[in-house]
Amino acid sequence: MKQKMDVLQGTLALMILKTLDVLGPLHGYGIARRIEQISRDVLSVNQGTLYPVLLKLEQEGAITSEWGASENNRRARFYRLTRDGRKQLQAETRDWEQTAAIIGRFFEVKAEDLS
């Protein structure tokens, strides 16, 4: 369980950052819903696993949080991207694209290309 989390955490964090970047401040449930929608329900993690990652990002200073009112008018914690978080997102996006491009090229390589 724990080991699986470690692998997921990196990508999950990136998804959270991107979601907050695109949609602005959101509460935990909102973030979970958006991630589900964007990943077209392919990715189904337990929604609860989000919260430790949110805390981690907050302790790193990538996001901040404050109390606000939810849709059904109750207290909910809203998360917002900080300037540090935006920079982190940009850096990680670049890294991600780079990695994806390299992996992509590996898959496209045919035997004759290497001769």
């Binding site: 449930y29 819903r33 929604q47 609860g48 430790p52 302790q59 790193e60 059904n72 914690r77 982190q88």
Partner: protein, 882 residues
């Protein structure tokens, strides 16, 4: 950056104990509420909507845990928890804790104390700058460095060597009379050549070291004062440099003052310039030669040059000038000074290491035994989902606690006893004052404690690996038959303990036997009721033999008049109280000459006072003292060496002659041998008796500037004051030193073997004690484990005797295996300590046998109580317990 920020936030959370579990709880509730609402909109029933929301959210407790782990320092939190729990466990079984901590304290304390010695003497550099460049010269002969050079060799090397910044000689210590402002005091003087302080690299706090002009025979003398003498006698006079002081009626120019903490091998009040000439002492191997290698010159380069210099010296010197054998060699001064103690220290260090091993085995077996009673607790933990890692952490924490308590108590014991311990060390070393607990010793202790803790933690943890949850929990009690694995672990612990304690006990046995042999050494005289004292002559007295003999005769008459004194005599050097030798040759027989023949000038009744048997001829009588006819008495060894079997009486010997050359400045007439007496030990108890020549004190000359007195009295204890008075009545200024019973002198000469035997005896005894406790613990545990089985046996008709045999038989088999392994190891190890033994072979079969029996006895003693307990098992109780 980011992870650093995260770390500090977590640290802050941990320190401030921030626990906003409320926030997460609220967030989760809201999350689930929102999801439920969503599900309701999708058309689910309210109950199903909430259920689905919960499912989608996941295991709330697991998430809370992850959240908490993210927030604070989980590792430290659980560690603190483990430590708290460990403390509780230790408090719950005070008996176990006390035994374990005491055992460890013993092991760690002994290790700390001995490591302080090893560190101070072998590891830490000498207290001089760049002491790794200070070397000691000697002749290397048959793999052994023979210390001391003669003065021509010293001068030859000093004047030619290129690898050395300085080379200097040291000619020992002596007591001299310091005349200062009409008051007299006795000071300890060291005789050194120029370059001595430069070689050691010591910077004087005032003035400078003396130059070579002060070491020429016939020239002036110079002195460098110690800080304490400068302060006590000269009132810390800042203008002391250049002043003249008077020592033994000889004037010395003060050239400098040493820094406060300077010491060579022994404390000295001042260092004076030795005059290098061609005296008897200078021609003999009597000068310690030290040198300082130039920066950048390696020890190997220095050695190569020394070897070359030795060969060159040999080529140019006349044969009798070359007294060394083999080739000229260097050792680091530190290694040379420690060489006599290296074996002892390493032996002691290994001994305490082994002791610690036993202590650890003991605690490990206790823990192992206890682990069984904790099986249920651990099974429950595992069943509740404790990870193996978490269990390991908990066991390590418990081990760490034991280790810390053990180390702390051991350290406290070592600190408390170290001063006493160090003062008992009979060695002269520059570093002895610095032996103490410093950071390295503390580091060593902590390392030992941590290593021990890990061993304990792992030992307990490994126990849980094979734990079968089902059966343990179902049974509701510890598994009846101990598993085969545990039995073998426990047995091998017992085997190890028995084997190691045997090795230690055997080492101790050898040293004790050696000490016993030393006490059995034939002294050659009767030490009972014998008192010895020493009188270093004041300068005017020492100037002539007639003066000295006059003083001695008068003082002897007064001493003999003291009530209780049976007889009294003088001898220039009493047995075991030093040496005084010179070359002696059989007249006209250059092949019969000995460079260092012990020379004793005595009064007429010396032999009768000491109880030395006369073997041939006669000893001196009054007529020999009255006449000037030169006569000598020789000892058995000399008679055997030169006249093997023939009668030496009537033959003549020449003092100061060696292989045809006369070394004395004022040649002495040849002496006629008038008698042969039995051998009396020389300076060392352990060395074979040297050749010895006795002459009447009326004719003799003083080699040492002092004489010893031997007094046989019916009640030696009460006559000290009377003896001193007898001396000062004749010569008011005369000093009396070293007044002591002969037995004390003998005791001092065996102080090193005594020290070794005492320590090793203690360690051997402790090893046996620990082994006793360990075997007892293991066996008690095993008997307790088998209570049920034993009950069944008794119920089925086994007699007490059979039960006894069952328990003791199995234990003794294990013990015998331990003894055999121990004997095997001891056989391999003890030859390393051969150099510490006197008249005992390292494989002495009698000691082997007796130690083996003793160890076996202790092991069986440990079985006694558990076996009795087994015999008293009440079958009814044992079975009902099921």
């Amino acid at each position: 950056m980011r992870s650093l920020r995260r770390f500090f936030t977590r640290l802050a959370n941990f320190v401030t104990r921030r626990r906003d579990d409320e926030r997460l709880k609220e967030e989760i509730e809201e999350h689930i509420a929102l999801q439920t609402a969503e599900n309701l909109r999708a058309g689910l029933s309210p109950a199903e909507a909430r259920r689905q929301a919960m499912l989608k959210f996941g295991a709330v407790e697991a998430i809370k845990e992850d959240y908490r782990a993210e927030r604070g320092m989980l590792f430290i939190e659980t560690l603190l928890q483990d430590i708290r729990f460990g403390l509780r466990m230790l408090r719950k079984s005070p008996g176990f804790t006390a035994v374990a901590v005491l055992t460890l304290a013993l092991g760690i304390g002994a290790n700390t104390a001995i490591f302080s010695l090893v560190d101070g003497i072998l590891l830490r550099p000498l207290p001089y700058p760049h002491s790794d460049r200070i070397v000691y010269f000697g002749w290397m002969d048959k793999q052994r460095l023979i210390p001391d050079l003669n003065v021509p060799e010293l001068e030859f090397c000093r004047d030619r060597a290129a690898s050395f910044a300085a080379i200097a000689g040291f000619q020992g210590y002596g007591d001299q009379e310091l005349n200062q402002d009409a008051s007299k005091s006795w000071v300890t003087t060291a005789f050194v050549t120029d370059g001595f302080f430069e070689t050691l690299g010591v910077n004087l706090q005032l003035g400078r070291p003396f130059g070579r002009e002060f070491t020429r025979a016939g020239g002036a003398f110079a002195a460098v004062l110690s800080d304490s003498l400068w302060r006590s006698v000269f009132g810390a006079d800042p203008n002391i440099v250049g002043r003249q002081i008077v020592l033994n009626n000889q004037s010395y120019t003060v050239t400098g003052v040493l820094p406060p903490d300077f010491k060579y091998t022994q404390p000295a009040d001042l260092f004076v310039s030795a005059h290098l000439g061609h005296s008897l002492g200078d021609e003999g191997l009597n000068t310690d030669v030290i040198g300082r290698l130039k920066p950048g010159v390696s020890l190997a380069q220095g050695r190569a040059e020394a070897r070359l210099l030795g060969t060159e010296f040999f080529a140019q010197a006349s044969p009798e000038q070359h007294q060394g054998a083999g080739f000229l060699h260097l050792d680091l001064l530190q290694e040379y000074l420690a060489s006599d103690y290296r074996t002892t220290l390493l032996m002691l260090f290994s001994a305490v290491g082994l002791l610690l091993l036993i202590a650890c085995a003991n605690v490990a077996s206790l823990l192992l035994a206890r682990a069984v009673s904790r099986q249920k607790e651990i099974s429950i933990r595992l069943a509740l989902g404790a990870g193996r890692r978490r269990l390991l952490q908990q066991f390590l924490a418990e081990g760490l606690l034991l280790g810390i308590f053990g180390a702390a108590s051991g350290l406290a014991a070592a600190v408390a006893s170290l001063r006493v311990f160090v003062s008992a060390i009979p060695w002269d070393l520059p570093s002895i004052d610095r032996i103490g607990l410093d950071s390295r010793v503390l580091l060593f202790t902590s390392l030992v404690a941590i290593a021990a803790s890990i061993v304990f933690g792992l030992a307990s943890f490994l126990q849980t690996r094979k734990l079968d949850l089902n059966s343990t929990l179902k049974d509701g009690r510890a598994v009846a038959g101990a598993s085969r694995g545990r039995v073998s672990v426990l047995n091998s612990l017992v085997v190890g303990e028995v084997a190691i304690s045997l090795v230690l006990a055997f080492g101790a046995g050898l040293l004790i036997e050696s000490l016993y042999q030393l006490h059995q050494v034939k002294l050659g005289f009767n030490p009972a009721h014998l008192v010895v004292m020493h009188t270093p002559f004041t300068p005017p007295l020492a100037s002539s033999t007639a003066n000295v003999w006059d003083f001695e005769r008068q003082a002897l008459a007064r001493i003999r008049a003291i009530p209780g004194v049976q007889s009294a005599a003088i001898v220039s050097v009493a047995p075991l109280h030093g040496q005084g030798n010179l070359p002696v040759q059989r007249e006209n027989h250059p092949e019969d000459s000995i460079g260092g023949t012990e020379y004793r000038s005595i009064s007429s009744n010396y032999f009768s006072t000491m109880g030395v048997p006369v073997l041939r001829g006669r000893v001196f009588d009054q007529s020999d003292f009255a006449s000037s006819a030169p006569a000598a008495v020789i000892n058995e060894t000399l008679a055997r060496d030169w006249w093997a079997g023939e009668n030496p009486i009537g033959n003549r010997i020449v003092l100061g002659e060696y292989q045809g050359r006369q070394y004395l400045q004022i040649p002495q007439p040849a002496l006629q041998v008038i008698g042969v007496v039995a051998d009396v030990k020389g300076m060392l108890l352990t060395a074979p008796t040297p050749a010895m020549v006795y002459v009447p004190a009326s004719q003799g000359f003083s080699l040492n500037g002092s004489t010893d007195w031997v007094i046989r009295a019916s009640a030696p204890a009460g006559i000290a004051t009377a003896l001193r008075k007898a001396i000062t009545d004749v010569a008011p200024d005369q000093r009396v030193t070293d007044l002591q019973p002969m037995t004390a002198l003998i005791g001092a000469s065996v102080s090193q073997p005594n020290f070794e035997a005492l320590l090793m005896g203690t360690f051997g005894g402790l090893a046996l004690l620990l082994m006793l406790v360990g075997v007892y613990g293991v066996l008690s545990f095993q008997v307790a484990q088998r209570t049920h089985e034993i009950g069944v046996r008794i119920a089925l008709g086994a007699t007490r005797r059979e039960i006894w045999r069952l328990v003791v038989g199995r234990a003794s088999k294990v013990a015998v295996v331990g003894v055999l392994i121990g004997l095997f190891c001891a056989f391999g190890l003890t030859h390393l300590m051969a150099s510490l033994l006197y008249e005992v072979r390292p494989t002495d079969p009698l000691i082997f046998a007796s130690v083996a029996v003793a160890v076996l006895f202790v092991a069986l003693l440990a079985c006694y109580l558990p076996a009795r307990r087994a015999m008293k098992v009440d079958p009814m109780v044992a079975l009902r317990y099921e």
